[in-house]
């Protein structure tokens, strides 16, 4: 195979014979690679943040909300209809409004959402919110082994409160601590862990003992409680008002007579008043408030969500309002093909609206949060605005680097023309060099970007710890959610792939273009003058 001589010379100038690489070309390639790397990484991270905000908003309210336009009692019919549609993946009806909550002399008026979790997956990932909000007790010689409260524990006399409300009222959900200095959530000595801790477990001291042959004894001298329990489906259930344990797998037979002591703290109670009850109270009527237990503390990752918030069951809210059969709306989630793209989501909402002759409004998340959505778009434009000068700087760097070679090689250019090289071909050497530098730089830049994405957490920790110490690391995790940022590899998402390809092509294009100026200069050069050049 015969390679064209300008390509041969261009290649040789980058990778000379008997040398691995020329220092100049290494610099140029690294320069391009760094530029490509920066552009890909910045865009990938921006997209990661966008993705995260989007997910957070959708988590906080679903893909859309159905809002009744007339006070209708037909919401169960709509719920049934929606649940039958294959494009609708979950429906959560809700009631919402402010309720007054009180604990001793402390008050709060959280926005309260009563949700009906009886049918299918809830739209809001409540379990995740509860996990985010859980605050474990720090104790000396004891470990807080309280399991994360489950959304299924949302009975009619249980509420979940936001961290803000919990702090304001000084309330907290129940807790169970294992005494002793053994660490870890599992009780390895007894082969069990706490599985469920319901709001009706009283404050007490408990002793758990292994009696052998898969039998444990749970006693609480203070409560006068003692019972032998055997696991059923891996669960040790001693009845209402007791913590539930689960055997751990792989199960290692504990020593007979092994014992652990647990201390439980009952969940706080709070009193809840509806606006109607407050009016009645003002009219000097005796209205007993509703007493509920704090089943968990939740935290919604999206900052736009009400900080002062409470989640209860639909029925509890109905009780407070003394109405039945009404709902304030439904949180909706749709299948992937609808929700992935804003246009199809909008179209689908419109379709639903028309089919219900405008009794219900279907509001997509990005309409409801238009300001935020616009902000994301603005951010994207800003990003492009930043990328353009970065690209230009890279292009300049390449052009200057190639120009320097032309100046260094003026006499050779004269020689090549004198040896019968056509001017166009001589110019092509530099154009090809620009192209090769761009190509190699793009490949290297993509590799660097992959490494950056792969090790982003380590790099971030490294930088943060150096600047702000270990505390800074916590701050980064807490406020920017950097560590949970979803930054996909190009083979995981087409969007990421197109980011990589776009910037790689951009680098190749710009480098080739940058090589054009020196190429033109070289082609125009008078060979006699070139040969005389010092």
């Amino acid at each position: 195979m015969k390679i064209p001589w300008p390509l041969f010379l261009a290649w040789k100038q980058l990778f000379p014979s008997r040398k691995i690489v020329s220092f100049f070309s290494l610099l140029a390639v690294v320069g391009v690679a760094l530029g490509v790397n920066v552009m890909i990484v910045v865009v990938a991270f921006m997209k990661g943040f966008q993705h995260k905000f989007r997910e957070d908003i959708i988590d906080a309210q679903g893909h859309a909300r159905a809002i009744p336009l007339s006070r209708t009692k037909e919401w169960r019919i709509l719920q049934n209809e929606l649940l039958l549609m294959p494009k609708v993946s979950s429906v959560t009806p809700y009631l919402q409004g402010p309720l007054l909550v009180q604990k001793k002399d402390y008050h709060s008026v959280p926005l309260t959402i009563g949700i009906d979790l009886s049918r299918g997956e809830p739209v809001l990932p409540l379990d995740e919110f509860l996990e985010n909000g859980q605050m474990r007790l720090e104790a000396h010689d004891a470990v807080d082994v309280t399991p994360v409260p489950a959304s299924s524990s949302l009975h009619d006399d249980v509420v979940f409160v936001s961290q803000y409300v919990a702090n304001r009222l000084g309330v907290r959900p129940g807790a169970i601590l294992r005494m002793g200095d053994s660490k870890g959530q599992q009780d390895d000595a007894l082969g069990v862990s706490v599985y469920e801790f319901s709001v009706d477990v009283p404050s007490a001291e408990w002793h758990l003992e292994y009696l052998g042959k898969q039998v444990w004894a749970l006693r609480s001298p203070g409560l006068g409680f003692a019972r032998e329990i055997k696991p059923v489906d891996g669960l040790l259930i001693a009845g209402p008002g007791t913590p539930t344990f689960a055997t751990i797998s792989p199960f290692l037979e504990p020593e007979i007579g092994a014992k652990s002591t647990y201390q439980t703290f009952r969940a706080s109670t709070i009193e809840v008043f509806s606006p109607a009850m407050i009016e009645q109270a003002q009219a000097d009527e005796m209205v007993p408030p509703k007493e509920v237990r704090v089943g968990g503390i939740f935290e919604v990752p999206w900052q736009g969500f009400h900080a002062e918030a409470m989640i209860g069951s639909f029925r509890m809210f109905e009780d407070m309002r003394t109405t039945t059969g009404l709902c304030d709306g439904m949180f909706l989630k749709f299948s992937q093909d609808i929700s992935n793209n804003e246009e199809s989501l909008y179209a689908f909402c419109e379709e639903l609206e028309l089919a219900r002759s405008m009794d219900w409004a279907f509001v997509p998340w990005f309409v409801e949060n238009a300001w935020f959505f616009d902000l994301l778009k603005f951010e994207e434009y800003l990003m492009i605005l930043i990328m353009v000068p970065i690209g230009l700087v890279a292009a300049f760097a390449i052009a200057i680097a190639l120009m320097t070679t032309v100046l260094r090689k003026i006499r050779e250019i004269g020689l090549l023309v004198a040896m019968g090289g056509a001017r166009g071909a001589v110019g092509a050497i530099f154009c090809i060099q620009g192209f090769l530098i761009g190509l190699l730089g793009a490949v290297l830049g993509c590799v660097l970007a992959l490494l950056f994405i792969r090790f982003r957490d380590d790099i971030m920790s490294f930088i943060v710890v150096r600047i702000a110490g270990d505390e800074g690391k916590v701050g980064v995790a807490q406020f920017y959610d950097f560590y949970s940022l979803y930054v996909p590899y190009p083979w995981e998402s087409s969007e990421s792939a197109s980011t990589f390809i776009t910037f790689a092509l951009f680098a190749v294009f710009v480098s080739t273009l940058a090589g054009l100026i020196p190429a033109w200069r070289a082609a125009r050069m008078n060979p006699a003058d070139a040969l005389r050049n010092e």
């Binding site: 040398k19 019968g420 060979p527 006699a528 040969l531």
Partner: protein, 229 residues
């Protein structure tokens, strides 16, 4: 008779202008070189020897005059056409005082560069390159890069490069100018031998009287005129 003239220049004049100053370097130069013969040109520094060689090689334009490359007649006032440039690769070889080897290429690649440029590089050219390097006494340096060679070795490589395409004419511009006396003599005798073996006619620009005497014709360039001696 005319058939055996391989290179002929008629009435070539060249004046350099910079601003209002004029420098008439060549004034109606006539020159003819029979096939297989050699011509030496001497002259003071700055008298226009390199300029003349550049015009003969059609690297530089003249103000007036015509040039014959074998049968091909050319007007020296205009720039070389692409077909003339392509023809040059097979007609002319040039050796410069400052070697002008491409530093990124190995010695062998430097020698075969002209064949590569004319698109005719194949095994036979590689073999020929090896032969020429052997003839010039630098066969063992074929894989070396020029940066690692001595001045004399570099010039031998440059001569091998100029001869690769079996040129009819070799233009040598002070090929020993950068070399010490001993090395210069070695290189010069290699050059003369190679030219006669390859059947290439030679135009040699030199300051050295002894080297000049080794050519068939000798001439001196003074005040823009070429005088035979």
């Amino acid at each position: 008779m005319n058939n055996s003239i391989i290179l002929q220049a008629n009435d070539i004049s060249k004046t350099f202008r910079f601003g209002k100053q004029e420098l008439a370097v060549l004034k109606s130069i006539n020159l003819s070189l029979p096939m297989g013969s050699s011509l030496s040109i001497r002259g003071e520094s700055g008298c226009g020897k390199t300029t003349l060689l550049n015009i003969l090689a059609r690297i530089e334009n003249a103000d007036a005059g015509t040039l014959l490359w074998g049968q091909r007649s050319m007007d020296c006032e205009r720039k070389a056409r692409p077909d003339e440039v392509a023809h040059r690769a097979n007609f002319l070889g040039v050796v410069y005082q400052a070697y002008y080897l491409v530093p990124e290429l190995s010695v062998l690649e430097n020698v075969t560069l002209s064949a590569r440029i004319s698109g005719s590089l194949d095994r036979s050219f590689v073999e020929r390159a090896h032969d020429l390097l052997k003839k010039m006494g630098v066969a063992d340096k074929a894989d070396q890069i020029p940066g690692k060679l001595s001045g004399g070795e570099r010039q031998r490589v440059a001569i091998a490069r100029a001869l690769l395409n079996q040129p009819k004419v070799l233009l040598a511009d002070e090929p020993t100018g950068n070399l010490d006396e001993r090395t210069g003599e070695d290189v010069m005798s290699l050059l003369l031998n190679a030219c006669s073996e390859e059947g290439a006619s030679l135009i040699l620009v030199t300051h050295n009287q002894a080297f000049a005497r080794a050519t068939n014709q000798q001439s001196v360039l003074t005040e823009g005129k070429l005088n035979e001696v």
